[in-house]
Amino acid sequence: MKVAFFLSIAILSLLASWSSSSPSVSFLGIAPQDENYFRKETIKCRNGSRKFTKAQLNDDFCDCLDGTDEPGTSACPEGKFYCRNVGHLPTSLYSSMVNDGICDCCDGSDEYDGKVKCRNTCWEAGKKARDKLQKLIDMYREGVTIRKREVEQAKEAISKDKAELSVLKAEEKSLDKLVNQLKVRKEQIEKAEGKEQLEKDNEDRSNADVEENFETTEASGKEDSLTSEDDVIGLVEQISIFQDESKSEHEDTNVAEDGSESIEDMSKEEIGRLVASRWTGERTGQVEETGSGADSNEGKDGSLNKPSDGDSKTNDPDADKIREEYKESTARLSSAQERISSLTEKLKHDLGVDGEFYTLYGQCFETKQDKYVYKICPFKEAVQEEGQYHKTQLGYWEKFEESYSAMLFSNGAGCWNGPRRSIKVKLRCGLKTELTDVDEPSRCEYLAVLSTPLGCLDGKLKVIVHKHQRSSLLLLTLHCLTGKWGSQQELEGKLEMLQKEKPEGHDEL
């Protein structure tokens, strides 16, 4: 009831201001709520610097530095022009846009000197905006619901993880004890079996290493042959520079410093490319990036999987049993430890105020733009892939920014003559979690948008609803003023809607 009362007051006051002011030239560019300020004979500049007479209001000559006396003309650079934009939201323009021959207000009121005729587009524009806003509200509503659900799920999952973690830790403790006991016994048995076998083991192991090495050589060769034409050129160039360098090293001359001698050995085309690259930095950095990121990870994985004990065989049944037990419990221990470390790793992250970002953990999101595929893995990394093998590290997980509305990945691959790559991923409200947009506004500083229900915040919804109410309210007033009543039903529906959407306070307006 209270709300309805307020609403009618608001409509009345709007009606009042409109009916009283619309034709007055001297009040041009003044917002209705400010009109009273200008009703006196002597008016103060808002910054208090001086006074001016009513005749000086909008007389196309600037008296107040802050533009108070010229809201409706272009005379004061700091003036603001208020467009009513009936049918849409009112706006405030820089005075530089008044009578400059370009229609800025949808009602065309900023161009009144006759040089250009502006069509009133407020009705269409307003409707479009309102429809858009309504859609946004609808989406937000659904999104907020999904978000709530996800927050609950995340909370649950986190506590589950925590519980699991404590169970695992207890298990680890007992397993550790068991393994140690078995180990002692196993060692006793093995001592008895002598050294010979041990040496044989070692030999086998080093053979295995060589083999592994050989395999990787083959694999990498294959990869290189699959690279795109561009890469080949890049590689050839790098290699040729590389060779130049090594040559001068072999010759042991002192020309390496200025690099000029090696330039003489290059082909004309190579020189051209090399000189061009000073300005562009192209290719001098890219080859490096392809490898370095992948290296460390894969190296780690490899060492983890390596079997640690040999397959020596003896005929002692007791020894076999001990070995079996030892192997089994070691495996259990290491799997428990693995799980512990992955859980600890996960839980140590800042997962948001309510832990809501738990759901993004371990996931990756991709989008393709031109020839690049961008891949964002929250809490891990962001990469740009070109084809199957050309990967550029855009950054490693750093943190959330802007009160959890953006994710920052930094310290990616270096840029020639510039910073290391980084990417900021802004979170937008959306019903599905997907990467929608990637941009590089500054070289090597990327910007992406991830639409996700997690971006649908209740607070934001309130703001949008407010905005919508304001425009609907104005629309309603317009109906009153112009007599363009819709059906009774329609109007009631609108009022009902407004009342329903009314949030508690009115402060934000």
């Binding site: 846009m97 370009i102 990787t216 050589t217 004309k268 051209g272 930095g281 490898g291 003559n417």
Partner: protein, 934 residues
């Protein structure tokens, strides 16, 4: 898995690449460019001793209005036996002296064409304007006198009312002297260092090739250099010789105290990350030197020659052991000029003041073109605005932040694979629509068009050019093939008028697809830059139209390319639209075709500081429309540096922000609200002063005077200004002092002359002939209006200058000690050539005895007229004590109110104190009227 091998090799490669990158990316490649010692002609000339030349002037006579002579060796029997190296010539050289109106002497020395030289030596065509030839004075009389101590006579001819030219026969010497006092002004060969290597036919076994960094120059005509000494008498310092990143007054390069210096090199080069304070040549060359002496006496010397040139400024005492005696009562600066090829085609300018010399020089090479009005406003550039969306966003942001700008620039990435005059179809699928959107807001676009043409048979320009044989040839006669942005490229032979005409047509709307009338052009890399060529340029033995070797033409290549582009835009607009073409390379005469900028500078305080002497030197050399990249091309400026650069750049004649593609985005709104405001204010100051700038542009267009001037140009008798190249004048009414240090607390500024100066934005008064220590303000650099001047302004800012056309004017009258002031206002349509028919408004405003009068300066017999409805909305009086309440306007006897008002209309700029203002006089700008304070 694949990474094991790469893992061990790549770090090594990476390390190497990094070290390579650090070498190439952060240092200027000194050894990539030849120094004097690596340049045989320079090394030879520089090592000669005074007295080397033994030529004498023989058969001196007047013929065809010229003073002519033959230069022959002095017939002394035993000379050949002397141990010293002496000038040898096989055939006499022809010398001629021509005199032109206004105190200009032209000296030519060349081989005698009747004696069958192997080839005609190159004379740079189309630099001297045809109107100049018409001003030649027909000499009919020569007088002869024998100077003290001379055995042979000297021939004397008239030069101007105050000066005469003297040709001394033995030893050969030419100089300009004061008629009455007989004291010398400029002389050539006074130290007998003249040398002229005649073209020869190669003898068997002779080694003529020159090698540098793996490049071989076959030099089919052998050595052909020319060198000589030039002396400036009574000179305190010399200036000129752009383009170097050096001080305005040229420091000595040889002699006591300058032992290790290189000469000033004039050789157009694409120098990666150039250094400030270096005599090495940059992108353009103008062999013009101006000497200034006490009481402002000025002379000039210009050598029209486009081959590589090296010039030494010789420190006092350089010739201590020479036995030659020169008039010793005059302080003197000696210089040594060396060129690889060409002829002597030299101009002596008799002054008498600095403005006269610039006027004389631009009488020879042409007055600066009148620019498009929009081009005098602010330009926004970046390598690169990536796509149409980027362009649209940047454009919208300017509106959002209420920052005016007029031109958005697209660098090389907008093209389809660096094929100029094409568009990247993914990034710029709708170029016309994009330009039209900008044009709807009164804004323009500039695209880059470089002289290297991608060798791709599917590229229409290449296809036609190669079929028609329009490319520069290599020494073997094949199309020269060099490497530049697009990869393998050839270069249009723009020395040929036919090629230029053909290329001009390519700018037509039907030919340049996706271009619209609001699109203008930027020429870059036209030194020419060749990434795999010697010194990143074209081989000297490459061949041009008419068998001209590249060595002979080099410094003018970019000039002819700029000319062809500029003419292309004139053709495109049916001769009705002024061209706008920015060029990086330049030569004498470039001012007729467009503007230049100082190339790839760096975002540091030193480059900010260096920009001022660089632009001043360009201005002295005729190129009045120039600027430096605001913010610095390479590197990321700190916000403070960027703001200071905007504040200074707002006073550059050409005001453009630009940045390398690897730098962070730096559009004005990206550095927080405060910095956005500061940058907006700096740009606003430029827009406010646009009417004044345009008036000064017109002055430059008619007189040749620079927009941005050394203080000594306006105050030549104030010696305290001689060493000052950190402050400058804009026109004759405005003085600007940059702030070149980080977190400056104070800034010192010297204000010349006897009269007062008024702070441009606060109106505060400062005394002349004093250095003032001022508090360095965050929101502006010191700028002052000279007492006795009237500056026209427009105080309403718009999206772009286009929307300001009908906005009213403000006149700011700064009174001098006689309570008087004068100023001018020039207005035309801002784009067409109608002004040449008299279609312009030109007013002189004179204030004296409390009365302001507007006088018409347009000629009576104009064929076309320009009118305007625009009015003067405000007249501000600085130095006028408040009192009068009204002003009376005649005709009409209308009374208007006089009160107090702000000086500038932007909070924070200026001060809160109010100044005497005539409110709303609404005076028509194109009519005669008076306003009298009563």
């Amino acid at each position: 898995m694949a990474s094991r091998i790469g893992g061990c090799r790549r770090p090594f490669l990476l390390l190497f690449l990094l070290s390579l990158a650090s070498q190439t990316a952060f240092s200027w490649k000194k050894d990539e460019f030849r120094n004097c010692n690596q340049t045989p002609f320079c090394k030879r000339a520089r090592s000669r001793k005074p007295g080397y030349c033994t030529l004498i002037a023989d058969q001196v006579s007047i013929s065809d209005g010229l003073l002519t002579a033959k230069l022959i060796p002095r017939p002394i029997p035993n000379q050949a036996e002397g141990e010293e190296d002496h000038q040898q010539i096989a055939k006499p050289l022809l010398l001629s002296v021509a005199i032109y109106q206004g105190g200009i002497l032209r000296l030519k020395i060349d081989e005698d064409p009747t004696l069958d030289p192997p080839k005609t030596r190159f004379q740079v065509p189309e630099v001297v304007v045809s109107e100049f030839d018409e001003t030649m004075l027909w000499l009919s009389r020569v007088s002869t006198e024998t100077l003290d101590g001379d055995s042979a006579p000297s021939s004397v001819v008239y030069l101007s009312d105050g000066y005469e030219a003297v040709l001394r026969h033995d030893p050969f010497e030419l100089y300009v002297r004061d008629k009455s006092s007989k004291s010398r002004l400029v002389s050539l060969n006074s130290h007998q260092l003249f040398d002229f290597e005649e073209l020869r036919v190669k003898n068997e076994g002779e080694e003529w090739e020159e090698r540098f960094k793996g490049h071989t120059d076959i030099r089919p005509y052998g050595p052909q250099s020319i060198s000589f000494d030039v002396s400036f008498y009574g000179a305190e310092f010399v200036s000129g010789l752009p383009e170097h990143a050096t001080s305005l007054a040229l420091k000595p390069t040889k002699g006591p105290g300058a032992d290790d210096s290189e000469p000033y090199r004039l050789f157009n080069l694409d120098v990666f990350e150039y250094l400030h304070e270096s005599p090495f040549g940059l992108y353009g060359s103008i062999p013009l030197m101006i000497a200034l002496g006490k009481s402002g006496k000025t002379s000039g010397f210009f050598w029209l020659n486009s081959a590589e040139m090296q010039i030494d400024v010789l420190a006092e005492g350089w010739n201590a052991d020479s036995g030659l005696s020169l008039p010793s009562d005059q302080k003197r600066i000696d210089t040594l000029w060396m060129s690889e090829a060409g002829i002597v085609d030299a101009f002596f300018f008799a002054g008498a003041g600095p403005k006269d010399v610039v006027s004389q020089y631009t009488a020879v090479t042409g007055k600066p073109a009148m620019p498009q009005h929009f081009a005098t406003a602010y330009h926004q550039c970046r390598w690169n605005y990536r796509d149409e969306e980027d362009v649209e966003n940047v454009d919208a942001k300017f509106d959002e932040h209420d920052i005016p700008y007029d031109v958005l620039w697209l660098d090389i990435e907008h093209t389809d694979g660096k094929r100029y005059m094409t568009w990247d179809s993914v990034m710029f699928p709708h170029p016309e629509e994009m330009q039209k959107k900008l044009a709807a807001k009164g804004r323009h676009m500039v695209t880059i068009v470089d002289p290297h043409i991608k060798r791709d048979d599917n590229y229409y320009i290449h296809k036609e050019a190669s079929e028609k044989g329009y490319y520069v040839k290599d020494s073997s006669g094949k199309d020269f093939d060099g490497w530049c942005w697009p990869g393998s490229s050839s270069y249009l032979d723009v020395l040929s008028p036919e090629v230029r005409s053909w290329f001009s047509d390519k700018f037509g709307f039907d030919s340049y697809k996706g271009s619209t009338p609001s699109l203008y052009i930027w020429n870059d890399m036209n030194e020419p830059s060749v990434f795999n060529g010697p010194e990143i340029s074209m081989p000297r033995d490459a061949l041009h139209f008419g068998g001209v070797e590249h060595r002979e033409l080099h410094n003018a290549y970019g000039y002819f390319y700029h000319m062809a582009t500029s003419n292309g835009l004139v053709k495109r607009g049916d001769g009705k639209d002024r061209p706008f073409v920015l060029s990086r390379a330049f030569f004498a005469g470039t001012q007729r075709f467009g503007s230049v900028w100082t190339g790839d500078n760096t975002a540091d305080w030193d480059h900010l500081r260096a920009s001022v002497p660089m632009i001043l030197t360009l201005g002295l050399s005729g190129i009045s429309f120039s600027g430096a990249d605001v913010g610095g091309f390479f590197g990321n400026p700190e916000p403070e540096l960027l703001v200071r650069w905007y504040q200074l750049g707002a006073f550059y004649p050409f005001f453009r922000a630009h940045a390398h593609q690897d730098t962070k985005r730096r559009e004005p709104w990206l550095f927080g609200e405060r910095n956005t405001k500061l940058i907006r204010q700096a740009i606003h100051v430029r827009y406010m002063l646009l009417p004044y700038f345009y008036t000064v542009f017109r002055e430059s267009n008619t007189t040749g005077l620079p927009i941005m001037r050394p203080l000594w140009m306006e105050f030549p008798s104030d010696e305290a200004t001689f060493n000052n190249d950190e402050a400058f004048m804009v026109g004759s009414s405005l003085l600007v002092q940059g702030i070149y240090t980080e977190r400056a607390k104070h800034v010192s500024v010297y204000l010349p002359g006897k009269e007062l100066w008024y702070d441009l934005l606060s109106g505060s008064q400062y005394k002349g002939s004093q250095t003032h220590k001022l508090v360095a303000l965050e929101d502006r650099i010191p700028a002052f209006q000279r007492a006795g001047t009237i500056i026209p302004r427009k105080d309403r800012y718009r999206r772009s200058s286009t929307q300001m056309v009908n906005d009213p004017y403000t006149l700011v009258i700064a009174l001098n000690s006689s309570r008087a002031a004068e100023g001018e206002l020039y207005i035309d349509d801002g784009k067409s050539f109608e002004f040449l028919q008299g279609a312009y408004i030109h007013r002189r405003f004179v204030f004296s005895n409390g009365k302001l009068t507007s006088l018409d300066l347009t000629p009576n017999n104009k064929k076309s007229k320009f009118t305007s409805q625009t009015v003067i909305e405000r007249i501000i009086l600085l130095g006028y004590s408040p009192g009068p309440k009204n002003a009376l306007i005649k005709p009409g006897n209308e009374k208007v109110e006089v009160g107090l008002g702000p000086l500038v209309f932007e909070t924070g700029l200026g001060s809160s104190s109010l100044v005497v203002t005539i409110r709303k006089p609404s005076l028509p700008v194109d009519k005669d009227w008076t306003v009298e304070l009563v």
